[in-house]
């Protein structure tokens, strides 16, 4: 499996650390309800199909990426910088 890092180009998956659902970028406010926090911390979808995950280019540039991929076909559909995604650019 290979991921195209927006900074480094197409790289082998061994260079990346897998984190989990990109929902982690949408951190609730400190005074949001316990339910919001529970959902943010613990509740995850398990989609058969397209999913957006966080990957860390640990053995490369150190960028966190939002990788879009398909859990059924294993296609990697794209990757953007998590910082761009967090700024709402992607």
């Amino acid at each position: 499996m290979r991921i195209t890092c927006p900074i480094c180009g197409e790289r082998d998956r061994r260079e990346f650390y897998y984190q989990g659902d990109a929902v982690a970028l949408r951190r609730p406010d400190p005074d949001d309800t316990p339910e919001d926090w529970d959902a943010y911390l613990h509740l995850r979808d398990n989609p058969a199909g397209v999913t957006r995950d966080l990957w860390y280019h640990e053995m490369g540039c150190g960028a966190w990426l939002v990788v879009t991929r398909n859990t059924v076909t294993h296609e990697v559909l794209g990757a953007v910088l998590a910082s761009d995604a967090a700024r709402g650019a992607a």
Partner: protein, 976 residues
């Protein structure tokens, strides 16, 4: 028997080899199988379950019977297929699964017990009594069943892993593969051509066919020579593509040639990861047997294999060969045998409308219904319309038709399609993204068809990739139609074999269906059909046909089992090449590593790092003696410890302080330049992630220290928090762990020691507790931090890593003149337990700031990672286990980490569990064992006596619960 003429062998080069201790000769170009047949050896192995005598069935990697063991001792390698082993001088092969010998195998008694050993026998028979399973049944079954054995010792041979990239990967170098590779190569694409055989050509080597008027094998050699001369082509023979994976990745196993393998230090096998933009599967087809009574007797062989032995190796597997088939292709075997001057006893075709022009006794509409003879074939019975004929013959060449080798197309869960005209499965297009099948594996059976399809598919692939395919001329070749009428089994009494390697018969499949294992996947597991090392390459389709018939369904409805990688067996040594011993994980050494080793320090692993455990002095016979001395040395004089393994993260930028305020529970924006602060970091779920000190080196410049264990995790976390949550902050984060060598200098004499090496001396006023700043160490720019993990007056001094070894030696040398010296991890641990300082033994991922008594470090004035979750009622429940100290007060003075705590009077059961011990050490300072533990409501229980029970080690001790800080509670020693 070797034929007088022909074959792709070098008769000038005799090769001596051994089989079961006997010496034989073959020629260069032989496989072990062809050489054995040339020496008229028929019996080569015993079957898995019934220990039936078995001979060579095929001429390729699909061989189920002829498995041998090579090598002795650690290098012993079992289950090698004689059909793919290249003959080499001195090769010594041993047969398997027979005792005491291949000729007299006492376990062949299993064959007589066959009525009791049918499918599901083990499941039904060894159910009870349960206790007997481990002691009796399993060892017995394991001894009786099975293939070759491993030596049980580490293999010292070298194996390798390699990676390759290409535009077009061509899998298989038969007519279709060669044409595809040639077409792609001429268009300028980067091509890798793999074939598992030692030479290219595929079936062209096995057939007496001509291409453009020259022998097929010569044409293949010519094309291969052209390809090998092109810079954009890599031809890989002896290389089996074993699996198709995501994104055009393919696994391939390359075997070294015998000559290459014999070179000292050479890799025996190389496991390749090949990434191909496109792949062309030209894997050919495998011939399938027909099931009839005792069709597993040595001498019953595949018709195509008999042809291969005759044409390629000039060996006839019999003196009087009978040919039996249900398709036109089988007739070629008879023709080639006749052409080679071998006596053909009869040609039997199950199709009533079959014809032949060959001058042989011809039976049409007839079937071989039984094989006779035990250790070698003596005769066959033929069922004709007029009755049963018995024919004396020593070899039967059988053909039930050809199965396209669709395996790789199924590796990503694709299912092949049933093709009634071929009576077999063909690949479903698109089953592997980027892979296209061509030739026989795609159901194209004539040589001309294969050549044409190989070129056509390559041209299509090239256009997709943006290359311009050149016009290719297709060589003249046979274009005979492939006609077949399915024949799976010949009815009759007795056992008819489907899966030769796992001893599965037609009866077993029928029984499975009868017992309602009707799904193909259930049938497979119940009967073990196709579960041996050959994965049922010969037998799966016929077994499906039998199941379909037994369940009254068609073959397409019955479906196939799932083909998974690897296509052919791959040694673990090749897949894990480089991962043995020290290769298993990287090793990280500090700059003082050599000095520690030279001082005799045993090293212990801390993650990937190696750290000195203790530094033994003459006269010290136990680690405790050294550890006690080192602790006292730090308390009374000065000790040196390399602490470079702790994570160091450089954080710079206008947003640095804000970022730290967000990741730490406490505040860092208020930290003055030149000062260090202890910080606590939580995970977002409210549990402690890590702790450590962070120094402010400048207004916008911090240096964070992490624990050794969590250095990587914290770096990842900081990058995530910055990039993912606070991209607005202008800050740069960089791990500098390996850039700086850092030593702790701890003890009452630490400042005196430092002043001996610093260019400008320090004192308490300019460098108080928790100060930090740049220093010059004998002309080298370094950093000094006044921090203490021992509770003594202590410093950590850092220099660029290239000066680390000199610094360590300098510090230890000076310390030794002051009554001190180096100390290791054992002493470091005791020192920190005496002070109640935590490590990851305490912050193990399930503890909160509240649990470790640091809830006041969670700032109320700001948001930080983990704040919301840490406030959940469950995480601040006073009933939670809280950090306490333990001191033994009863007769037993020893404490053990991992032991559990109970009320004094309570039974030591899970229900009564009150907590557990995380760290223990013997304190020479206080002359007692000390422990850190988590105890329910622990902070309210200081002074209480609890019972420590170590169920594993059988140790019980009464302990007094106390404050976790045992020594110098007010911290005066560190400050003064």
């Amino acid at each position: 028997m070797r034929l007088a003429r022909g074959g792709q062998i070098d008769r000038g080069q005799r090769i001596a080899f051994r089989f079961d201790g006997h010496r034989y000769e073959g020629f260069a170009g032989d496989t072990l199988a062809s050489a054995l047949l040339a020496n008229d050896i028929r019996l080569v192995g015993r079957s898995f379950k019934y220990h039936r005598p078995r001979g060579i069935l095929t001429a390729g990697s699909e061989e189920p019977n002829a498995l041998v063991t090579l090598g002795q001792g650690a290098a012993q390698e079992p289950n090698l297929r004689a059909t793919t082993l290249e003959l080499a001088e001195g090769l010594a092969a041993r047969s398997q699964n027979a005792w005491p010998s291949l000729g007299l195998d006492l376990l062949a008694i299993n064959d007589l017990a066959a009525p009791f050993l049918s499918a599901g026998f083990y499941y039904k028979t060894f159910m009870w009594p349960r206790a007997l399973w481990e002691k009796l049944y399993e060892p017995l079954i394991r001894r009786a069943a099975g293939l070759g054995a491993l030596s049980g010792r580490a293999n010292a041979d070298r194996y390798a892993r390699a990676f390759a990239h290409c535009d077009v990967l061509v899998i298989g170098a038969g007519p279709a593969g060669l044409m595809a590779a040639l077409t792609a190569a001429r268009a300028g694409a980067d091509v890798i051509l793999c074939d598992e055989d030692l030479r290219t050509g595929g079936r062209l080597n096995a057939e007496a066919l001509e291409l453009d008027g020259q022998p097929g094998a010569d044409w293949a050699a010519g094309v291969t020579k052209d390809l090998a001369a092109m810079p954009n082509v890599r031809v890989m023979t002896r290389t089996t593509v074993t699996g198709a994976y995501d994104q055009g990745t393919y696994g391939a196993l390359e075997r070294a040639s015998p000559a290459e393998a014999a070179r000292p230090g050479a890799a025996q096998e190389t496991f390749w990861n090949i990434v191909a933009r496109r792949a062309i599967l030209a894997a050919g087809a495998l011939e399938r047997p027909v099931a009839f009574r005792d069709n597993d007797r040595p001498g019953v062989m595949m018709a195509g294999a008999v042809r291969a032995y005759v044409n390629r190796w000039a060996v006839t597997p019999g003196q009087a060969v009978t040919v039996f088939g249900n398709n036109d292709d089988a007739h070629r075997t008879a023709a080639d045998l006749l052409a080679a001057g071998v006596h053909v006893t009869a040609l039997i075709d199950s199709r009533p409308d079959a014809t032949t022009a060959l001058d042989v006794p011809f039976y049409k509409g007839a079937q071989v219904c039984a094989a006779h003879g035990r250790k070698r074939l003596e005769a066959v019975s033929i069922a004709t319309t007029s009755g049963i004929d018995k024919l004396r013959t020593d070899c039967l060449a059988m053909s039930g038709g050809w199965n396209p080798t669709v395996h790789l197309t199924c590796h990503m869960n694709g299912r092949p399609m049933w093709n009634p005209a071929l009576a077999s499965f063909t690949p479903t297009p698109g089953a592997i993204p980027g892979l296209t099948a061509a030739g026989a594996c795609n159901g194209t059976m004539s040589t001309h068809g294969c050549l044409t399809e190989g070129a056509r598919v390559a041209a299509e692939v090239l256009v997709d990739l943006g290359f311009k395919p050149a016009d290719t001329t297709i060589p003249q070749a046979e274009d005979a139609p492939y006609r077949i009428t399915p024949l799976w089994t010949v009815p009759g009494k007795g056992r008819a074999w489907l899966d030769f390697q796992n001893d599965v018969t037609v009866k077993d499949i029928k029984q499975a269906a009868q017992e309602n294992f009707r799904s193909v996947e259930h049938m497979k597991r119940y009967t073990t059909q196709g579960m041996a090392t050959d994965q049922g390459k010969n037998s799966n389709v016929a077994a499906l046909a039998v199941l379909a018939d037994a369940t009254g369904r068609g073959i397409p409805e019955t479906g196939t089992t799932t083909f998974r990688p690897p296509y052919a067996p791959v040694t673990i040594a090749a897949m894990g090449a480089g991962g043995q011993g020290a290769g298993f994980a990287p090793q990280r050494f500090t700059t003082s590593h050599r000095a520690s080793i030279a001082a005799g320090a045993p090293m212990i692993e801390a993650g990937l790092w190696y750290r000195p455990s203790y530094f033994p002095k003459p006269g010290e016979t136990t680690w405790r003696q050294s550890c006690d001395r080192e602790v006292m040395m730090v308390r009374n004089a000065v000790g040196i410890c390399d602490v470079s393994t702790l994570g160091k993260i450089d954080i710079k930028g206008p947003g640095a302080a804000q970022l730290l305020d967000f990741v730490y529970t406490n505040t860092f924006s208020t930290l003055p330049v030149g000062r260090v602060r202890y910080g606590l970091m939580l995970r977002e779920d409210g549990h402690v992630m890590d702790d450590g000190t962070t120094a402010r080196l400048g207004p916008d410049h911090f240096l964070m220290t992490t624990t050794t264990a969590a250095a990587g995790q914290v770096m990842r976390h900081l990058d995530f928090v910055h990039q993912g949550l606070r991209p607005d902050l202008d800050v740069s984060i960089c791990s500098v762990t390996e850039h700086w060598a850092q030593c702790a200098v701890a003890g009452p004499k630490s400042r005196d020691l430092l002043n001996a090496i610093l260019d400008a001396p320090i004192d308490d006023a300019t460098f108080p507790f928790m100060a930090c700043g740049p220093v010059m160490v004998q002309g080298v720019a370094g950093r000094l931090f006044r921090i203490s993990f021992s509770g003594e007056q202590a410093y950590e001094i850092a220099v660029p890593a290239r000066y680390g070894e000199s610094l360590f030696k300098l510090l230890v040398g000076l310390a030794e003149t002051m009554g001190g010296g180096a100390y290791g991890l054992e002493a470091l641990n005791v020192l920190r337990i005496e002070k109640g300082f935590i490590t990851h033994a305490e912050i193990h991922g399930r503890t909160t700031a509240f649990d470790i008594g640091m809830e006041r470090m969670m700032s109320a004035k700001k948001d930080f990672i983990g704040k919301a979750a840490a406030a959940r009622p469950g995480l601040v429940d006073p009933d939670r286990e809280q950090l306490v100290g333990l001191k033994p007060v009863g007769a037993v003075k020893q404490l053990t980490a991992g032991a559990h705590l109970f009320d004094r009077a309570a039974e030591a059961t899970r229900e009564n569990d009150q907590g557990y011990v995380t760290s223990v050490g013997f304190s020479p300072t206080l002359d007692t064992f000390l422990g850190l533990a988590f105890l329910k409501q622990g902070r309210a229980r200081h002074g209480e006596v609890v019972r420590m029970v170590d169920h594993l080690r059988g140790i019980e001790a009464l302990c007094e619960v106390c404050d976790p800080v045992f020594f110098d509670k007010d911290g005066g020693r560190a400050r003064g």
